[in-house]
């Protein structure tokens, strides 16, 4: 080989080159593994055991699927599953519906819209626990500012004790979530709306389509893959609802707003039944696993588009 004037780049031996990516990944993978894989496996093992912290410090004997059988014959567990489902449906529908409305209203280039878009992210940055307190304060049936507004506009709502009524308590809980998510979803959808070519919509307009027809026949079909991504994303985070349950309703009235996460928390943390709480938390892991798979499929489709 003829020696070139430029010194050749340092060649590393084959195994070192192959090991390079893993060497870079090792610290992060170690941290993620230690803080996610370890607890998941540990919770799975504990879910097959009997373990009450108030009886023994060390985990007790293996009891097979007993904790899971207990969950599926426990009315209060079913209640929490039902509450979580209701909450998820309500908050997904409201967040995505309102988010889409906001996106369509702001999908133009006026200064007012630009100003509003810049502020849309703010509610999402408020700690969820604080959102709970904030809405609880504003909907206080005697003194809350939103309660007063509602009572002025709709006098027959005067008697409603928002957090004392099972239906409205769940709605308020959903509202704390919608307040942060609807504007965020609007921002995501505005990204999608921006990528729809204006020629397509202009063509529909020239063909005499009303704004209503234009939306359902042109915009909506083009936006649908992205909407699906957003729906699953919101569903995943709704199933995980915990913070606002603690700060807004404490699970009440009765058990009307006790989500699955809150149920697992009260079994493990309040009643110190670690075995049962671990089984419940693994049921939540499985539910979220299914939703996550659906989300990833929807995302792959959106990317393929």
């Amino acid at each position: 080989m003829v020696a070139s004037t430029v010194p050749p780049p340092r060649r590393r031996s084959g195994w070192r080159r192959r090991a390079a990516p893993y060497a870079h990944l090792a610290p992060a993978l170690l941290a993620i593994g230690l803080t996610t894989v370890y607890p998941l496996v540990s919770a799975l093992i504990t879910s097959f055991r009997h373990w009450r912290l108030n009886e023994t410090r060390e985990p007790g004997e293996f009891v097979g699927l007993e904790q899971y059988e207990r969950a599926f014959t426990d009315g209060t567990f079913y209640n929490s599953a039902w509450v979580t489902l209701e909450f998820t449906v309500i908050s997904v529908v409201l967040s995505v519906g309102l988010g889409l409305g906001i996106a369509l209203i702001l999908n133009n280039r006026t200064r007012l819209s630009a100003f509003t878009k810049a502020l849309l992210i703010l509610p999402f940055a408020v700690a969820p626990a604080l959102k709970g307190f904030s809405w609880r304060f504003m909907l206080n049936p005697d003194t809350g500012v939103y309660d007063k507004m509602v009572d002025t506009v709709l006098p027959f709502f005067d008697d409603i004790n928002w957090l004392g009524d099972p239906f409205w308590a769940l709605m308020v809980l959903a509202l704390t979530e919608v307040w942060g998510w609807a504007p965020l979803i609007a921002l995501m959808l505005l990204g999608g709306l921006g990528s729809i070519s204006p020629e397509v919509r202009e063509a529909a307009k020239l063909d005499g389509a009303s704004p209503w027809q234009e939306f359902w026949r042109v915009t909506f079909p083009l936006l649908r893959p992205l909407l699906l991504v957003v729906v699953f994303l919101k569903a995943v985070f709704s199933v995980k609802i915990f913070d606002q349950v603690v700060t807004t309703t404490g699970g009440g009235p009765g058990r009307a707003t006790e989500s699955m996460n809150f149920f697992a928390y009260s079994q493990g943390f309040t009643f110190l039944d670690i075995g049962y709480a671990s089984a419940v938390s693994w049921v939540i892991v499985l539910v979220l696993g299914v939703l996550a798979a659906l989300y990833l499929i929807a995302m792959a489709r959106q990317e393929a588009k």
């Binding site: 990516p21 870079h24 990944l25 803080t35 504990t46 007012l112 940055a125 700690a127 700060t247």
Partner: protein
């Protein structure tokens, strides 16, 4: 965001002005339409901002006026002095929040940057599945992480320590910002690295002297997200702290007194929880949608 604007530009030119007869009808429509749009936008602004504004106002009201809906009042710092060193002192929790947020960020960002670099620059067996696994960790419910750590930290005597909360925070922060930083490293030109390598730059100094400065905006954004996620976290400190390491969002619970919630103080403390995050979120607002949807929306 920028490429969106570029795509829009050329479309404006070929649109021909509509014939004059239709124009009058349309302008009447569009006048009504834009009035409706302005009204609707105002409603959106009200929906988004009012809870924030109301909490800020309540925080500055004299304590006895917490329940008044008056918009005009003499501002008072009573509530702030109560929560900052006064009767319901939350200064300790505030310091804990700052400390835990900062420590989480300082640990998480370098780890995530290294991993993001590997995902961006190398193709290796397991690339896709590891990336997918990192995304998937975001869907793990907090209780399934907090419960095992509750029992582990109990036996290690780490309950109610800052270290415990920093460790557990890494479970959400590291995967999230790894994904975020991968996007930033992807957008850096490879040529600079090749040039540096030809000049004899080793891997360590390449990462430190070339990649880190180039990815500085991305590092800033991910540092903000790390801090924000750690700051707003509620489930972990609820499980793993009692009093010494309690963070501010959890300490809000101490304002729920047997005789009712101390709303004035709650608003002041709430403003302390909220205000720094509002500023941070505003600074990185363009990156929220990218991070949350793992790049499905650009």
């Amino acid at each position: 965001m920028t490429d969106m604007a570029v795509k829009r530009e050329p479309a404006a030119a070929p649109v021909e002005p509509p014939p004059p007869r239709r124009r009058r009808k349309r302008s009447a429509w569009s006048a009504a339409g834009s009035a409706a749009r302005v009204t609707a936008t105002m409603a959106i602004l009200f929906f988004v901002l009012f809870p924030i504004v109301w909490m800020a106002l309540t925080a500055f009201k004299p304590a006895r006026d917490a329940f008044s809906t008056a918009l005009v009042f003499t501002p008072s710092l009573e509530n702030f002095s109560a929560v900052l060193g006064g009767q319901s002192d939350l200064t300790g929790a505030l310091l804990n929040s700052v400390l835990i947020g900062a420590a989480t960020t300082v640990i998480a960002v370098p780890l995530a940057l290294l991993a993001a670099y590997a995902f961006s620059r190398y193709r290796f067996p397991g690339h896709r599945s590891m990336l997918l696994a990192i995304v998937a960790t975001q869907f793990i419910p907090g209780v399934a992480i907090a419960l095992p750590f509750l029992t582990l930290f109990r036996s290690l005597g780490l309950i109610d320590t800052h270290l415990a909360l920093v460790i557990v925070n890494l479970s959400i922060v590291v995967p999230y910002i790894t994904w975020l930083l991968k996007g930033f490293v992807d957008s850096l030109p490879v040529e600079i690295e090749e040039a540096a390598r030809i000049d004899g730059c080793g891997q360590v100094s390449l990462l430190w002297r070339v990649i880190t400065p180039l990815a500085a905006p991305g590092i800033f954004v991910s540092a903000v997200f790390s801090f924000l996620l750690a700051w707003n976290e509620f489930l972990f400190p609820t499980f793993l702290s009692r009093s010494d390491a309690t963070t501010l969002p959890v300490a809000l619970m101490t304002l729920v007194l047997p005789e009712g919630v101390a709303w004035g103080q709650m608003a002041a403390a709430g403003l302390l929880v909220m205000a720094p995050m509002l500023v941070m979120a505003f600074l990185v607002r363009k990156h929220f949608t990218e991070g949350m949807t793992m790049g499905a929306v650009k």
